[in-house]
């Protein structure tokens, strides 16, 4: 823990130092050094792999720039072979069964974030071939590949977005600092509190992890709640992480692409996939689905392309049947949605818009959530058992998960929608208040006199809190941070005694 903090402080110091350097090359060099120091923490071999991949891809990029297709295939092929060797060979060898192969499989360790930086290299080659994406120097390309906030788990960036930012003269902006810190705080709360809480449960053994790994004989309702709970755990974990990464970069004036955009409010699976893990989803769309679907004009081929793209999306997560089935399931959802849209037009079904929206949201939410059973199941047997429970009416008669799990999941999910809806409402009230304050057409008194005044009073409060944000948020953070540190210290400083294993008996 301490070494992690020291590492982050060193990297931040290097970056802060880089921002003071006038020379572009000097600045980029220090930024790259900071990124490599960060990556070196995971191991020298891994850093060597990243550097080698950057050098080779830079050279390949130069060749691809000659617009010869064979060079593009070479670049794409090499990257795919490399990632496949690390990501898919160990499980294949392990499954092969022979001890020597299994031993070899165990010794192959995939470099951290390889899936992300290899995809960045691939997008660079394809973009270079198809259009002019600017010519990065070796330093800039290495920085693009190793950019420390994104090198571990994305978002998957594109060179045209990053290159101008690497070349820009940095300017300190209070707005960037404020926005960045807010995103980091939001990310920390989502990843380290909400995701963790859902995983471990309000009480021990009453979380998603125990629900999947230490439970048998699920009822239908259990499976649904586990699917929803895991979906939200994954969302809070990854969206929280992405927000932290985006926030850190933002503090230094670098804007990274958004990775999640309120996906659970989507009305269709197609919209969902434009809001969930957006950087990867758009990558698959641009570099897999679109080229594939452009190969033929037939409707059926469009569906096949969707299925292939989503299957690859699933396999990107790892060489497991459950991931592949999850990808196929998501592909089928997208195909089903497109076919449904066509059928709706053909049958000219008319539904009141509000009811239609509600139905569309509920259907999307249910199907997307059920998909997480595929993603999370530890084996095909478990997946089969859970799906059987979800699809068998009689299994809804019993529940095996503790009541505490139901309470927690329902509270967190309801809380999320309440916050999402509430914040939109408050933003609109604030806008109304500002407009009213400007034109002085409505009462903006502190205490609402009539029901009509409520939005203005609430809007005024939100406006006050937003404009004086750091005056109240900073003391609150310092207080909470101090108390959390004290509580952590007290809990960790408790006398180390043998655990009270009496409870085993």
């Amino acid at each position: 823990m301490i070494s992690t903090i020291v590492l982050i402080v060193v990297v931040l110091a290097l970056w802060a130092g880089a921002w003071q350097i006038e020379s572009l090359r000097g600045r980029q060099l220090l930024l790259l050094l900071g990124s490599y120091v960060f990556y070196f923490w995971f191991g020298g071999t891994m850093l060597a792999m990243l550097v080698a991949s950057s050098l080779v891809n830079f050279r390949l990029g130069r060749l691809v720039r000659t617009l010869r297709l064979e060079f593009l295939w070479l670049a794409v092929g090499l990257n795919i072979v490399l990632i496949a060797a690390f990501k898919y060979l160990p499980p294949i060898l392990d499954a092969a069964g022979s001890p020597s192969q299994a031993d070899l499989a165990r010794r192959i360790v995939i470099p951290v974030g390889m899936s992300f930086w290899t995809f960045q290299a691939l997008s660079y080659h394809i973009d270079t071939y198809l259009e002019d994406v600017g010519q990065p120097s070796l330093l800039e390309f290495c920085l693009y590949m190793a950019f420390w906030p994104t090198v571990i788990s994305g978002p998957v960036c594109r060179l045209p977005e990053m290159l101008p930012q690497f070349r820009r003269t940095p300017q300190f902006s209070r707005q960037d600092l404020s926005d960045g810190v807010l995103q980091i705080i939001q990310g920390v709360c989502m990843k380290f509190y909400l995701a963790q809480l859902l995983a471990s449960g309000w009480s021990r053994g009453a979380g998603v992890t125990a629900g999947f790994d230490a439970t048998v004989g699920w009822g239908g309702l259990d499976v649904w709640l586990l699917a929803v709970g895991y979906g939200f755990q994954l969302f809070f974990d990854f969206a929280g992480y992405s927000l932290m990464v985006i926030g850190v970069a933002r503090v230094f004036g670098i804007r990274l692409p958004q990775n999640f955009n309120r996906p659970y409010l989507s009305l269709t699976p197609a919209i969902f996939w434009t809001r969930w893990h957006m950087s990867l989803s758009f990558w698959i769309r641009d570099y897999v689905f679109r080229p594939l679907s452009a190969m033929r004009r037939d409707k059926w081929w469009l569906y096949v392309s969707l299925l292939i793209a989503m299957t690859l999306f699933g396999l990107w997560h790892g060489a497991r049947w459950t991931f592949m089935l999850w990808g196929i399931y998501q592909g089928l959802l997208l195909v089903g949605h497109r076919m449904g849209q066509r059928a709706k037009k053909w049958a000219s079904i008319q539904v009141p818009p509000a009811l239609g929206a509600c139905l569309a949201w509920a259907t999307t939410f249910a199907f997307v959530s059920l998909g997480y059973v595929f993603f999370r199941a530890s084996s095909l047997a478990q997946l089969g058992t859970m799906l059987e429970a979800a699809l068998t009416p009689s299994s809804y008669r019993h529940v095996v998960l503790p009541q505490a799990y139901y309470q927690l999941t329902i509270t967190v999910v309801a809380g999320y929608f309440l916050v999402a809806g509430g914040s939109a409402l408050l933003r609109s009230w604030r806008a109304r208040y500002r407009a009213a304050d400007k034109s002085r057409v409505a009462s903006t008194s502190l205490i609402p006199l009539t029901w009509a005044d409520v939005p203005y009073t609430a809007g005024a409060t939100v406006d006050f809190l937003a404009t004086s944000l750091w005056w109240w948020l900073a003391p609150a953070l310092v207080t909470l941070g101090g108390l959390a540190a004290l509580a952590t210290y007290i809990q960790s400083a408790r006398i180390a005694t043998t655990p009270f294993i009496y409870t085993l008996f």
Binding site: S203, G205, Q491, T497, I501, Y502, F505
Partner: protein, 416 residues
Amino acid sequence: MHRSVSKEDTTRRGTLARCYKVIAIVLLNAAIVTACLNAVAAAVVLLLRLSPDTSEPPDARSRSSYYAGKAWASQYWKEFAESRREQYHAFTVWRRAPFKGETVNIDARGIRVTPGAACGPGSFTVFVFGSSHMWGTGAPDWATIPAYLQERLAGLISRPVCVVNFGQSGYTSTQSLITLTLELQAGHRPDVAVFLDGAGDIYAAYQSGRVDVHMNFETTSARMERRDLPTRPLIVQTIEATSLFRLVSDQIGRLSAGTADPELVTYESLKVDRGPLATAVVDAFLGNCKMVDALAKQYGFAYYYFWPPHISKGSKTLTDEEQTEKAAVAPAFQRLLDTTYQAVETRHSGTCRSIFFLDHLFDRETSLIWLDDVHTTPVGNRMIAEKMAQVVQDHEPPRVGRSGEDDGSAGPWRIP
């Protein structure tokens, strides 16, 4: 000159005033924000207190397929959780607190009730000792080992039978011996004493790396010596008393508890050699047996030791559930258990002749017997009790008086 100094003074004063203003605002803000947060935390704490207590997860054993369709099962596990409260007990450190339920009943002395026990003058009295297995973890009052022993002996013996369950969760053979001594000291002499000891001894050694202690010695002594409650400065104590701190601390505790199991301190982590430790466990166990032997001769009762079965011993074909339980046994514990079993089997004959091994009792049983690695279902409990009754019957109590002389009686057994 004079005027310019005055100007500087004014500027300095202005700067100081501005700094003071900013600090004052920040401090006031901090106070207001902290007060607001504390008020919110107080409301949350109050709300959480009002909600049902869900801090204890259900016992994993309650999910055993054995309990499917057993009407009493959910009530039993509820009462099992409620009855886990211990109270301090002289010399043996703990005993269960009195409890009255439908499936679990513990009397005022902390002794689990044996249904049907006819205790009184002239009864054939059997004291049973041991740890949680003998106490009856996983079984309602009527399905514990002592309950089945009572039922079986009542059918075999012509006198009223009184089986008293002195088993307590976590007890070692030394605590069983002390319990027996205290009973004898109080004038309660059994006809037969039955011990199901050994598992607790191994657990205590596994946990502490030594044999001269009871289970959870470190935790108990830390509480006794107040090492678990280090004194803190008044300011920290004041902060600790606030609702906000309690809420933050509670959340951190929950999150850290959920991330990973704390690493168990075991004899291996304490760098204690397994071989000598296992030898010491067996020495202590056989030493206790020897003392019981001496007491039996002095007070005139028969005694039998039963070395407990374990899921990893014997050759029972394990069900899938049992296989899972067996796989969950901590490797360090399993290694110590294996070494101890081996040692006790080779060394008991010289010191403790009235010892019976139950390792192969379930060999021909194919149904679910094990709830975890040491506790058995009521089916297993019945089999153990029947074996005990058979041993008691086969090895007639020595017809000795209190002074150790032959009393000339025909024994208590029903003659067919």
